[in-house]
């Protein structure tokens, strides 16, 4: 099977240990966590309604990033760059995100139609397999059509670094965190306030009875996939903004970790997915300075690439003690075999 290439890691070089250093890391963690949270939302929403995990979601994130790349290149051609530009960089970014979200939503709808709707009454594990396979098809098609080399995401926003009392913050990080938090709030408002959101919540509550009273299950399912994919596309573009190298297998690693975050948050809990996403990002980023401190205090020599090990051990411990996730309720999960 094609082997996933390593995705760009968050910056590894760190200034000496001060309070500022920690705040710096917290900001990094917020940025890293917002990718996880945005992707985890897609997993979580689909799960809450269909009780299925969309294993193609990580690759939809990748497709979203590539669609964003295409949209951004076209937009930059139309608008122009530099001083002659018709729009400022951030406006191009917002337009790119909106267009790509719209386009990627259709990818999600197609995935639902092809891979999940025919299997609505099949064992859940079968749907998991189709999801995995659609993911592989998406990766392979990308390699097939774009040649498999890594592509550069255009710099939509000029990078600026602010120095606030020794803490260095780039405008991109602020933008990423704000945009993703904004999207999360928008999603929450949509689910909590709108008619469609109410239908989704009802469907999550009972998928057998609610369709009987006239809520269209297929429309709601497709809409859920569309919203999740749109959020994944936003995450993809923001990821491209922070680490401007895209490769076809970027969705594998990030997607599976976001999947873990979605579970960690609790069954289908939007709030839980966000918080668990940020938490996972936090754990991953903070492991590195924690190991450095341990090494310095106890004169050890632990490699800082133990990140995954520690992050997943923490996840394992949390799940052993809270088997239904942080915000999930106890329920009996039965495979519909």
């Amino acid at each position: 099977m094609p082997f996933p290439a390593p995705f760009p890691l968050p910056p590894g070089e760190h200034p000496p240990m001060t309070l500022g250093f920690f705040i710096q890391n917290i900001i990094n963690a917020l940025q890293w966590g917002s990718f996880y949270a945005l992707i985890a939302l897609g997993y979580s929403m689909v799960y809450s309604i269909l009780m299925l995990f969309n294993f193609a979601h990580g690759d939809i994130f990748m497709v979203g990033a590539y669609i964003g790349l295409g949209v951004a290149i076209v937009l930059l051609k139309v608008v122009g760059t530099g001083a002659a530009a018709l729009m400022p960089g951030w406006a191009v970014l917002v337009v790119t995100i909106l267009i790509s979200m719209f386009l990627t939503a259709f990818v999600g709808i197609i995935v639902e139609r092809v891979g999940y709707r025919p299997l609505r009454h099949a064992p859940r594990a079968s749907a998991a397999i189709t999801g995995l396979m659609i993911g592989i098809i998406l990766e392979t098609s990308n390699v097939l059509f774009l040649g498999g080399q890594r592509l550069h995401f255009p710099q939509l926003v000029q990078s600026q670094t602010y120095d606030i009392g020794g803490i260095f913050i780039t405008n991109k990080k602020i933008m990423i965190v704000l945009l993703s938090v904004g999207l999360m709030i928008a999603l929450h408002q949509f689910v909590a306030r709108s008619r469609w959101g109410m239908a989704m919540r009802a469907m999550a509550y009972d998928i057998v009875v609610v369709p009987l009273v006239g809520v269209p299950i297929n429309t709601i399912a497709a809409m859920t996939f569309a919203i999740g994919s749109a959020l994944a596309a936003a995450a993809g573009i923001l990821f491209g903004l922070a680490y401007p190298v895209l490769d076809p297998y970027m969705g594998v690693s990030l997607g599976w970790k976001a999947f873990v975050a979605a579970i960690l948050g609790g069954r289908g809990s939007i709030m839980g997915a966000c918080i668990a996403g940020f938490m996972l990002g936090f754990i991953e980023i903070m492991t590195v300075p924690a190991i450095q401190i341990m090494n310095r205090l106890f004169e050890l020599n632990i490699g800082s690439n133990l990140r995954d090990l520690i992050a997943y051990s923490i996840v394992l411990v949390i799940l052993v003690f809270r088997p239904h996730g942080l915000f999930g309720e106890a329920y009996s999960a039965r495979l519909r075999l």
Partner: protein
Amino acid sequence: MKNRTPSTSPGELQAAVRTLFGPIPLLGFLLGFLVCVLLERALGEPLAHLLKLPKMPVLFGTLTISKVLAGLINSVLRGAGFHPATLIQIPMTLIYVSLIYFVPLVVIGRLSARAANRAARAMQDMPLLLPALVHLGLMYAVLHIWAGASDYRLVTLKLTLIAVLVTLSLNVINGYMGEFSCSHPGFMAIGAYVSSLFTVGLFIDSPVLGKALVDSSIAYLTFPLALLLGGIAAAAGALLVAIPSFKTRGDYLAIISLAFLFIVKSLFENIQGLGGARGIAGQPPWSALPVIFAVVVLGVWFTNNFVTSILGKALNAVRDDETAAEAMTVNTRKVKMTAFLFGAFWAGVAGGLVAHELRYINPAMFGIQKLAEVLAMVYFGGLNSVYGSIVGAVSISILGEALRPLEILKWIVIPLLLILVMIFRPTGLIAFRDFDMRRAIGPK
């Protein structure tokens, strides 16, 4: 002469196959195959030359055909040069396959059917071990002669056999017990590392694990011990997944097992004493075909006995309704623990076999991709079924090899095929089928 299963939709093809092969017992098939492979050994090369094939088709002609198709597709997609003359290879390969495999199989099978049935009937009264050994011996002879034709066949066959073991051991957890365990590559990794640690550490000079401690010419006799240690270590690792499974099921257990996989992979990547991300190389080449065949047969036998035992039936009870099973005095904890340890043990053994076949392991081999592959084999072949696991592992392995000339397109064709299987047969090709040795080798 009875039909084993009443057919639901007797298509023309199915009826034809039934009249052709219906009265032949397994013994007759094995004899037929033996003649086929002997025939190929004697006449394969001249016949391939006669049919103007570049060389003898190695994988029942599938590889040759897909190579021609790949050339055609390449010429359409990328404008690469394509000789229309190579198209003639497709019918020629089909002729080759039917002359070497199909016709002898049918002829010998039909001719020997009466005698084979009589022999099978005679063996029915003996203790099961004897006829089973006769059949397995014949089967091994067929595989040995078939694989003797080229190194490529040998490697493919070995990896396919190992895949059968892995698939079956995962089927115990995912099919029979109905969990969605994602940790199997992790168990394989543990088995591979521990057995390599044993063999390479003791008997081989290695840049990673240092000089050999023992210099012995009969060191290969300890290979079963190495495999056993690998399996036991994997089973010990499975405790980490089995104990949380007391409290939780389904998706959360899936995550726990996934986290376990990531932890194992990350652990092996970070232990510099075990070669880190570069892994261990230079395992002794002890995974010979007879060893692998024996271990896989042993694994299938154990697994089949396990799943048909009372404890094995309790697995199905836990899968179908855990609460009801508990009410019917099934000790669910014991059942879950046994299933996880059992599955992990055989996965660990399979990992040890892989390590000594490829003679090189690194943590990246046991990642998400491996997981997707094994899951695909289990769900393609069929849940809750020994036959299904064998069919799934063999067909996905052969498909993967046969479509190799298609290069990257292979990863579109195979997933599409799996999606179609999932849509039309959601539990897999041959699901919920018991495997009964006595019936399999009995007369028809």
